[in-house]
């Protein structure tokens, strides 16, 4: 097993439960922040793995570009909530694998919060966006799922509605409910459903229209930086 995976397991099985246990012992509304700290802990193994890999400039730039596009995706279309943000992140995951997908998502969320304001929800967002990249990366790795526009679109829609959206809503549960109760949480999840559906629909439409076109472009980049030799063909000539 890869060392990064081992680290991830340690975090998930030891560190996170420890934090949760600690939070029950602390006074006041520590769970506000403990939830953020848990999210942060989940980021660590992914970040560590990425740092260790020492990505080449070409890959680094591509990841930055995709993260920035994830930030921008919410501005591109002037309709409320109709934002294909997760589609961009998932495409990154599909093209470059789950680890890079996670990084694109996490950095996208962090970068976005530098423009729109950070808060205790920032680690949650980073994690949730990252998870979007990871899921897509795993699902489409080694031809597990065919990379067809409608399949990617549907997958992205389902992920958004079932996993990523609710994850984001969970941070709202922790940060806004005065008392965490099942009924209170359920109300929040239900009220978030419409937003998540719209997000998901935007992702579906976007991938249906442009999924393979963009994937092709990203794979071109991937195949290039994978080469041993210096990797440019473009010359402007």
């Amino acid at each position: 097993m890869k060392r990064s995976r081992i680290l991830l397991l340690i975090v998930l099985l030891v560190v996170v439960p420890a934090t949760l246990f600690l939070s029950t012992r602390l006074p006041g509304r520590s769970y506000y922040l403990m939830s953020a700290i848990v999210a942060l802990e989940i980021l660590i193994p992914f970040f560590a793995a990425y740092e260790k890999r020492r990505p080449q400039p070409r890959e680094l730039v591509t990841v930055a570009v995709l993260s920035a596009l994830a930030v921008i995706a919410r501005v591109a279309i002037p309709l409320p909530n109709f934002k294909p943000t997760f589609a961009v992140i998932m495409l990154a995951g599909i093209a470059f694998g789950p680890e890079t997908g996670f990084i694109v998502g996490a950095i996208g969320a962090l970068g976005s919060d530098f423009f729109y304001g950070q808060g205790p929800f920032t680690p949650w967002q980073m994690m949730a966006y990252g998870v979007a990249g990871v899921l897509a990366g795993f699902a489409f790795a080694r031809g597990r799922l065919p990379r067809k526009n409608w399949i990617m679109g549907l997958f992205c829609f389902l992920c958004t509605v079932i996993v990523v959206g609710p994850l984001l809503d969970t941070s709202t549960v922790f940060l806004t409910l005065s008392k965490i109760t099942w009924s209170g949480a359920l109300t929040l999840y239900l009220s978030g459903l419409w937003v998540n559906l719209t997000h998901g629909a935007a992702c579906f439409v976007f991938l249906l229209l442009f999924g393979s076109v963009i994937l092709e472009k990203l794979e071109r980049v991937r195949n290039r930086y994978g080469m041993m030799e210096s990797d440019e063909n473009e010359d402007g000539v």
């Binding site: 509304r29 922040l33 591509t62 930055a64 930030v71 921008i72 990084i103």
Partner: protein, 299 residues
């Protein structure tokens, strides 16, 4: 942003900033004692206004009524408490629930204000200074994203404008469907454009030796003697607060009756330390303003 440059605390080393904000926010979440919340709230409010000027005051003017509304609404759903003020909708409206609501709302708003201050003070270069060593690649990625986003925003406006000038883009009068499809078209073109630009950026990084060896980091912030003094001061005060928390000096119960730990003796010291900790940025700001005032009046 401009005001933060004139703020003495903002010019401190980022380590001072992060210690302060971590303290303010962690303590803020852990302590339910109404007096502590009030102290934190006042400090946050003053500092927020100092940082954001008139705009800050406007924001605060919106937030304060919010506290009152949340406080007043809470007893409608929460009926715990012995002191019934009056009956409404056949349910008791209790003093305890009112105080609990007020504390809760005060806490939320205080957090919001501290986060607002954090966003103004802890700019991206400070973030990089703090985390650049632990996560150099991720930090660089973040910087690249921060550069790209405004560029992409400009480009998106350019793309949309160019399309409008040949009668293709979606205008305000277009249907939602048109707006959506055109937005998607623009976004896909933007991706091509940005990936293309990325080729050049990567070349430029390689041309300047990225990846040839261990990177060092240019430190734009220098740790001065004053920063160290401030760090020690913040550390000591935080330790005092932690002692107070550990000795149950900050506890409060809201049901069946409001009982808060009395602020007396050792607990009073803890409370004083808490106030001193939180007032620090404001104190630095005011001190500097007075100094300038004096040196100007001497001329």
């Amino acid at each position: 942003m401009k005001r933060a440059e004139n703020d003495s605390f903002s010019r401190c080393h980022p380590a001072v900033g992060i210690v302060f904000f971590l303290g303010a926010i962690l303590f803020g979440a852990m302590i339910m004692h109404p007096l502590y919340i009030l102290a934190s709230g006042i400090c946050a409010l003053v500092y927020y206004c100092l940082l954001n000027g008139v705009k800050g005051i406007k924001t605060v003017a919106v937030l304060l009524p919010l506290v009152i509304v949340i406080a007043a609404v809470n007893p409608l759903f929460n009926h715990e408490g012995e002191h019934v003020l009056f009956q409404i909708f056949g349910r008791p409206y209790t003093w305890e629930a009112l105080i609990y609501g007020a504390s809760l709302a005060g806490m939320l708003v205080t957090m919001l204000l501290w986060m607002g201050c954090y966003n103004a003070v802890m700019t991206s270069d400070k973030f990089i200074t703090l985390f650049g060593k632990a996560i150099p690649t991720i930090s660089l990625l973040l910087l690249m994203v921060l550069r790209l986003v405004p560029n992409l925003l400009r480009k998106i406006r350019q793309l949309a404008g160019a399309r409008k000038c040949i009668g293709r883009g979606a205008g305000e009068k277009s249907t939602k469907r048109q707006q959506a499809v055109d937005g998607m078209n623009v976004l896909s073109a933007l991706i091509s454009w940005a990936l293309e630009g990325g080729v050049v950026t990567a070349d430029s990084m390689k041309a300047r030796g990225y990846g040839t060896g261990e990177r060092s980091r240019f430190q734009i912030f220098r740790m001065t003697a004053r920063d160290i003094v401030l760090l020690v001061l913040l550390g000591t005060l935080a330790a005092a607060v932690i002692v107070a928390i550990a000795r149950d000096g900050t506890t409060a119960e809201f049901a069946p009756v409001v009982t808060a730990a009395p602020i007396r003796g050792l607990h009073a010291a803890g409370f004083a330390a808490y106030c001193a900790f939180l007032i620090l940025p404001v104190a630095l700001h005011v001190k500097e303003a007075i100094q300038w005032h004096i040196s100007r009046s001497r001329i």
